[in-house]
C-alpha cells in the first residue's frame, strides 16, 4: 500500500496494455505505442477513468444513502424494490433520465443553456482529482491543494447563474440570483474557517493537513470553525435548510426549472457530487482524513486499503449529519439566511481564527491535551 499510488498503478496498467497491443503490431507503430509519452497519456486516461468511476459510484450510493436515511427520518423505508434494499434504484432512475428527451425553451440561449449544466458538472468532478482520499491517492503533492479545491468549488455560482439566466424563465432567474447571493455570502465564512485550519496545520497542502492530524483531530480545538464550515457547506451545497435557490414551494424547481432529462440529471448528480466533496472536505480538514486515533487497534487500521475504508466511513457519517439536518430543520427565509451568514457566521469565523492562534501559541487546551509543535 505504501509504495503504490493510484497513478503508479494506472501507469503500470497502461504500460502493460500498450505492450500487449504493441507486440502484435508491425514495427513503426509499436515503437510509437511504447514510447513514454503515449504510455503517460494512457496512464492519465486510466487514472481519470478510475477516479470518475469511483466518484460516480460513490455519488450514486450517496443518493441511495440519503433516500434510505431520510426515509427512516420520515418513518418510511425509502427505496426497497430494485436490487437489495433498493441499492440499484438510482441506477434505474438514471437510466430513465438518460432515455428521456431533452428540450430547450424557444427563447432560451442555446450556448448558456447547454454549457451551464455541463460546466457545473465538470467543475464539480474536477475536484476529485484534487482531493486526496488516502495516502497514495493523488499523484503528486500540490502545495496549495486546499486553495485550489476551494477555488474550483466556488465556480459553481457562475455556472448556475449562467444556466438560470439562459433558461429565460422567471423562476430560474430568481433561483439563480438567490443561488449567487447565497454562495457568495457563505464563501467568506468558509474561507475564514479554513484559515483557522491552515493556521493550526501550517500548510495549504491537504496531505500535510491530514498528516498534522495524525495524533489529534482538529475538530476539538477548532469546534467553532467546524460549526461555521459545516453551516457554510450546507449553504454552498444548497441543501435544506439553505435550499432557497430551489425552494420547491415557491420557485417550482429553482434554477433548474427548465431542465429535463440528462441535463437535469447533470444538475442532480453535480449537486450530490458537491455534497460528497463537502463531506470529504469536512473529513479532511477536521476529522483526520484517513488517519485513525492511536487507541484504535492496529488490526483495524493496517489491512489493505484501510485508509480509504475509514475515510469513506467518516465521509458517509458526515453526510449522514447533513441528512439529519435536512430532516430536522425548515427552510429559512432569504433575509434570515443572509443575516445568519453575515452577522453570525463571519464573527464566529473570526473568533475561530483567534482560537486557532491561541491553539498554535499555547499548544495545550483543556480536555484536548497538549499537541506536538508544528512539524512534529
Amino acid at each position: 500500500m505504501s509504495g503504490a499510488t493510484l497513478y503508479s498503478v494506472s501507469a503500470a496498467l497502461s504500460a502493460l496494455l500498450l505492450g500487449a497491443v504493441a507486440s502484435i503490431l508491425p514495427a513503426p507503430v509499436n515503437a510509437w505505442l511504447t514510447s513514454p509519452d503515449v504510455v503517460t497519456g494512457l496512464a492519465v486516461l486510466i487514472f481519470s477513468a478510475i477516479l470518475l468511476a469511483a466518484s460516480m459510484i460513490n455519488t450514486i450510493m450517496l443518493i441511495w444513502f440519503e433516500r434510505k436515511m431520510l426515509g427512516r427520518f420520515m418513518d418510511r423505508r425509502g427505496a426497497m424494490h430494485v436490487g437489495y434494499a433498493g441499492l440499484l434504484q438510482n441506477f434505474a432512475d438514471g437510466l430513465k433520465l438518460f432515455r428521456k428527451n431533452t428540450f430547450r425553451p424557444r427563447e432560451a440561449d442555446s450556448l448558456g443553456f447547454y454549457a451551464g449544466p455541463t460546466a457545473y458538472m465538470v467543475t464539480s468532478m474536477i475536484l476529485f482529482g484534487v482531493l486526496p482520499i488516502s495516502t497514495g491517492w493523488s499523484s503528486g503533492a500540490l502545495p496549495l491543494s486546499l486553495l485550489l479545491a476551494l477555488a474550483i468549488f466556488s465556480f459553481a455560482p457562475l455556472f448556475i447563474f449562467v444556466s438560470a439566466w439562459s433558461s429565460n424563465n422567471k423562476y430560474s432567474l430568481i433561483g439563480g440570483m438567490r443561488s449567487a447571493a447565497q454562495m457568495i455570502a457563505y464563501e467568506v465564512p468558509i474561507l475564514l474557517a479554513v484559515v483557522a485550519v491552515v493556521i493550526v496545520a501550517g500548510s495549504f497542502d491537504l496531505n500535510v493537513i491530514v498528516n498534522e492530524q495524525q495524533n489529534y483531530w482538529f475538530w476539538a480545538p477548532l469546534i467553532v470553525a467546524l460549526i461555521v464550515f459545516v453551516a457554510g457547506m450546507l449553504a454552498e451545497m444548497e441543501r435544506i435548510p439553505f435550499d432557497l435557490p430551489e425552494a420547491e414551494a415557491e420557485l417550482v424547481e429553482g434554477w433548474n426549472t427548465e431542465y429535463g432529462g440528462m441535463l437535469f440529471a447533470f444538475f442532480m448528480l453535480a449537486d450530490y457530487v458537491r455534497a460528497l466533496i463537502g463531506s470529504i472536505l469536512v473529513v479532511l480538514l477536521f476529522l483526520g482524513g484517513w488517519t485513525m486515533p492511536s487507541w484504535v487497534p492496529s488490526v483495524a487500521t493496517s489491512f489493505p486499503l484501510a485508509g480509504i475504508f475509514w475515510f469513506m466511513i467518516k465521509t458517509y457519517l458526515v453526510f449522514g449529519l447533513f441528512i439529519w439536518i435536512r430532516a430536522s430543520l425548515p427552510r429559512v427565509r432569504t433575509d434570515q439566511l443572509l443575516r445568519v451568514g453575515w452577522n453570525r457566521m463571519i464573527p464566529l469565523a473570526l473568533l475561530s481564527i483567534v482560537l486557532a492562534a491561541v491553539v498554535v501559541t499555547v499548544r495545550c487546551l483543556p480536555l484536548v491535551g497538549c499537541v506536538p509543535p508544528l512539524g512534529g
Partner: protein
C-alpha cells in the same frame, strides 16, 4: 399555550436548531428499529408475527382474514352445482359477467358458466345474491394485481379454482330481490314446442298432455303439439329462461288467481 414568534425563529440556535435535531434523532432511532410500515408484498399484516403488533382501535388484533366477514372479494364458483340459469349475468349492473361454455355439458346444449371481467366488476355482490344455487359466492380475497389486462378476466375454471381453495367465504347472502311472481301460461298461444322445458335449468317444467279438442265443423285446429308446460313453482328459481326461449311469447310473469 401559544408559542411566541421568537420561539419559532429558525435561526434561534436552541429552539430553531438543537431541539428539532433532537426530535428528528428520536424519530429516526424509533423508525430504524421499529418502523411503522411493513414491506407489503413481502410482509403482511395477516402474518401471525404482526398480529400482536398492530391493533385496531377496538383493541382487536388484525390478523388472518381480518377483512370483514362480509367483505366482497374475488368470486368463487362451484361449477358442479351451477345450473347455468344466467341470473348472475342478468343481475350484473356492470355487464361484466358473460356466460361461457365449460367442459362437461351435453354437446347440443353446452353447459354455460359465468366468466367475470374484474376490470369492470364493481364488487356489488348482486350476482351472488341472485344465484339460486349458492354456487357463485364472494370470498375475502382482495389481491387482484395482474400484469396484463387480459388476466383480469377470470374464466369459470379459474373461479372454480378459487372455490377449491376454500377461502373464507362471505357468509352473508342477502335476501334475493323479492320476485313473488310465477311463470304463467297463456294457453291458447302455446304450441307445445318443449323449448321451455328443455332449457329450464332446474327441470321444473314438465310437458303434460292436453286433450285435443274436437273441431267443430268448418273450424281448423291450430297445428301444434297437444302438450302444455306446467311449472313446479317450488322448484322454480325465477330465472326467466323459459320466457326468453318461448317462440310464441306465451309465458309471462304473473300471480296465480
Amino acid at each position: 399555550m401559544a408559542a411566541s414568534p421568537a420561539k419559532e425563529n429558525p435561526t434561534n440556535p436552541v429552539t430553531g436548531v438543537v431541539r428539532p435535531l433532537a426530535t428528528a434523532a428520536k424519530q429516526f432511532t424509533k423508525s430504524l428499529f421499529r418502523p411503522s410500515t411493513i414491506v407489503y408484498p413481502y410482509e403482511r399484516l395477516e402474518d401471525p408475527t404482526f398480529r400482536g403488533k398492530v391493533a385496531v382501535a377496538a383493541g382487536r388484533p388484525i390478523g388472518v382474514g381480518d377483512v370483514w366477514d362480509n367483505y366482497r372479494g374475488v368470486h368463487a364458483l362451484n361449477i358442479a352445482t351451477c345450473i347455468s340459469c344466467n341470473l348472475c349475468a342478468f343481475s350484473c349492473p356492470d355487464i361484466c359477467i358473460e356466460m361461457v361454455t365449460v367442459a362437461g355439458g351435453d354437446p347440443k346444449h353446452p353447459k354455460k358458466c359465468p366468466q367475470i371481467d374484474y376490470g369492470k366488476c364493481s364488487y356489488c355482490g348482486f350476482c351472488s345474491d341472485a344465484c339460486p344455487e349458492g354456487c357463485l359466492t364472494m370470498t375475502t380475497r382482495y389481491e387482484l394485481s395482474v400484469t396484463k389486462r387480459a388476466e383480469m378476466v377470470y374464466p369459470p375454471e379459474r373461479l372454480h379454482e378459487v372455490f377449491q381453495r376454500k377461502l373464507p367465504m362471505n357468509p352473508i347472502r342477502l335476501e334475493r330481490p323479492a320476485n313473488e311472481d310465477n311463470i304463467l301460461l297463456d294457453a291458447p298461444l302455446c304450441i307445445g314446442c318443449n323449448a321451455c322445458a328443455r332449457d329450464c335449468p332446474t327441470k321444473c317444467i314438465t310437458m303434460l298432455d292436453v286433450a285435443k279438442p274436437t273441431p267443430k265443423p268448418g273450424e281448423k285446429l291450430p297445428r301444434r303439439i297437444w302438450k302444455e308446460p306446467v311449472v313446479n313453482d317450488s322448484d322454480c328459481v325465477r330465472c326467466g329462461t323459459c320466457i326468453s326461449v318461448c317462440p310464441k311469447e306465451c309465458l309471462f310473469w304473473g300471480t296465480h288467481k
